[in-house]
Amino acid sequence: MKNRYLVGGPITPLLISELMTLGNDDNGAGAVSIFIGKVRDDEVNGNRIKALEYSAYSEMAEKEADGIVKTVKAAFSDVRKVLLVHSTGIVKAGEASLFIMVTSGHRDHSMRACRHTLEMVKEKLPVWKKEIF
């Protein structure tokens, strides 16, 4: 299965900009909700996190991500597009590891579907992280 939802390394501002352009070619969409998850420079036992290294069960993650997108589209009738990308590998503090974008006709469904997508990512994507100090 081709990787459509996983990307190696951080989700760069350039990639975010490209994804936003991609999701933006629809003059019937009045609402765009985006969530970006970023690596925090948290302190753990006196040590500050420099990066997270994400690993994934790629084949299953691609299947699950595809299922999430289909579920969200089916659950929210006003939703028009759902984009979902998660990092694997090393993502430094301040960089993005998750990008979700949902467009819909009106605001309610894009916002609720964006949140629902995020909760499903947390619950269903087989991804793990390791702190790098």
Binding site: G37, Y54, S55, A56, Y57, E59, M60, K63, H86, S97, L98, L118, V121, K122, E123, K124, L125, P126, V127, W128, K129
Partner: protein, 78 residues
Amino acid sequence: MAARVIVLYFGAAQKVAGNASEDFMAEDTLSLRRQILERHPGMCRVTFRLALNRNLLKEDSLLKENDIIAILPPFEGG
């Protein structure tokens, strides 16, 4: 009859197993779990679920030749 299956380790389970994948001979997932814990006693400290051929298992299942079993600690994506 026992089948040769491939076990994939992820996250904390991979750290404990010291391997990304191993072969086992097992008839069902119950027997497979027992064998994994025998081979890697440290695995008893890891909470995990199983996926069979990329699908999360909700209950124990029979196994057939070349099945792929993934050992999945709690997900940490996002």
